[in-house]
Symmetry: C2
């Protein structure tokens, strides 16, 4: 890090792109169904905050996650400016086909580097899910439309079911996903097991095998290291991150999984460090407040929402 | 950071020394008086956890902070192995004299780089407090006993009263404290305003002027950046950190100040990163639990206490 003055430091620091995952990962563990109209209101709020990508929903069987029973309705009703990329999560080929039918512009496939978690999540081995991804990529190409295809590797930093996940395996999966056509690779700390040294090292190793394909960091703050891990990921060259309002989130098939990195705190940190995010923090606080009123049973986290911004705060 | 395997990384990572400040900073905002016997029980618990330095109390006027009315009693009754350094905080010459009389082995003087905070805290300008420190150092030398003299700079990263604090001023104060005889310099983010870029830069600038005098980092997690700031401080060469059980803490004369960095989470992070701390995390959880029962009105924080250690956790 530079020892020069703060304004100079800010001038050279890179923009960090943030994807909001509130409506997908953020709602996964929420048992109460958030009505479609309210999901769309949150979407509009996020667009007004200037998010350039929003993960909108998940194409999973409604019996598995009832919260996303309205996935197609949400996609059909979503009305955003062309500058905003709406993406959806799919765990398999069937989900990808449904997403295609609904007319999405970006698909976020996810598999798990942990065999045990992948089996719990989609009843397939990781290799079977890799084959699924190849089939999805083929389907996309056949489809003709210009659809962006992203691939995420869950439990990249360890798993609450099986414990350790070999870094070699994560690197190998990343390389195979890129070879199969992934246009973006996401490294996910699904259960908050990662630490800054590990994140920096693994992100660097994966960067070495993915060529020009951009990396996304997806961190959970389950054990308090979310923001420290983000700094380590930035140091390794990751330039895009997932966040969720109020730190909502968690995977129903990863025992003990909890909140995503809190959007408000993450944006405060990045802007303070001199990384422009483009997000309107003041408006974001309003969107959070509204969602908090709609989900009174949920645990919303966040330091900025409690303590406020420093007097010294300046957006980058 | 190295791209080699984790065990190799761990082999070369430095030990980080932790000072527990639960009984001082941790109790400052606690309005209910914790009886002396219970303070001593916490001390014994911390010693059993292997802390090598424990900040025991504060020699301030009891009308200002009634919690420390028993400061001399606590020092007299404290019975620890010779390997454990007990230190006390003093804000002025009078406090230092009382601490000397009580027979402490280490004095932690503190002043504030923010004029406004220093005036609120001790009704003196920062320069008047610097003069106080020179008088304390003279008194120590006259006293003859080998007493370790540490000096802390509060609000080094900004102030809730005055806002910005010039980095040049912090650097200048650090140099003057060292010249006057400080054997340790502590940089404190009293109100949780610091961010990792700022912490790394200022710690580096201060390191440049203090020569061989070791630096200590004292971070508050008021705005969620405590652990990220610690990683940045380590990168700048800081090798000693303050922590408090359950993230207790805050300064009564710094509006909005809240919890210190949580001891359990910090130790989890450091050990995971390969930095040995020597602290027994399991026993620490018991000491925390006991204190939580004794202070039912207080807000104890912490992710590890809620989510538990990862299955993959290995102490360094």
């Amino acid at each position: 890090m530079s020892s020069s003055g703060q304004s100079e430091v800010k001038a050279v620091r890179q923009r960090v792109e943030l994807r909001d995952v509130t409506l997908r990962d953020g709602l996964q563990l929420v048992s109460e169904f958030l009505p479609t109209e309210r999901k769309l209101a949150v979407l509009r709020g996020l667009v007004d905050c200037n998010f350039t990508e929003i993960e909108l929903t998940s194409f999973v069987p409604p019996r598995v996650i009832p919260q996303f029973a309205d996935a197609a309705d949400v996609v059909h009703a979503a009305d955003v400016p062309p500058s905003v990329c709406l993406s959806v999560l799919v765990p398999n080929l069937k989900g990808a086909k449904l997403a295609l039918e609904a007319g999405v512009g970006k698909i976020n496939f996810v598999l798990s580097a942990s065999e045990a978690h992948n089996l719990a999540n989609v009843q397939k081995t990781t290799d079977q899910s890799l084959a699924d991804f190849q089939a999805i990529a083929t389907e996309m190409r056949a489809h003709g439309r210009d659809i962006h295809l992203s691939a995420g590797i869950a439990t990249s930093f360890g798993c609450t079911i099986q414990g350790p996940v070999a870094e070699e395996r994560v690197v190998e999966i990343a390389a195979q996903l890129v070879e199969a056509g992934a246009q973006e690779i996401l490294l996910a700390d699904t259960v908050g097991y990662g630490n800054p040294v590990q994140v920096n090292r693994l992100a660097g190793r994966v960067a070495d095998v993915v060529g020009d394909v951009p990396l996304v960091g997806h961190f959970h703050d389950t054990r308090g290291l979310g923001l420290a891990n983000i700094v380590a990921a930035l140091d390794a060259g990751i330039g895009k991150l997932d966040v969720a309002l109020g730190g909502l989130g968690g995977c129903p098939f990863a025992p003990g999984a909890s909140g995503n990195v809190n959007a408000e705190d993450c944006i405060f940190m990045l802007e303070s460090m001199g990384h422009p995010t483009g997000i309107d923090l003041k408006h974001l606080a309003d969107v959070r407040k509204q969602l908090e009123l709609w989900l009174p049973q949920e645990r919303f986290t966040g330091s900025i929402s409690r303590a406020g911004l420093p007097k010294t705060f300046q957006a980058a």
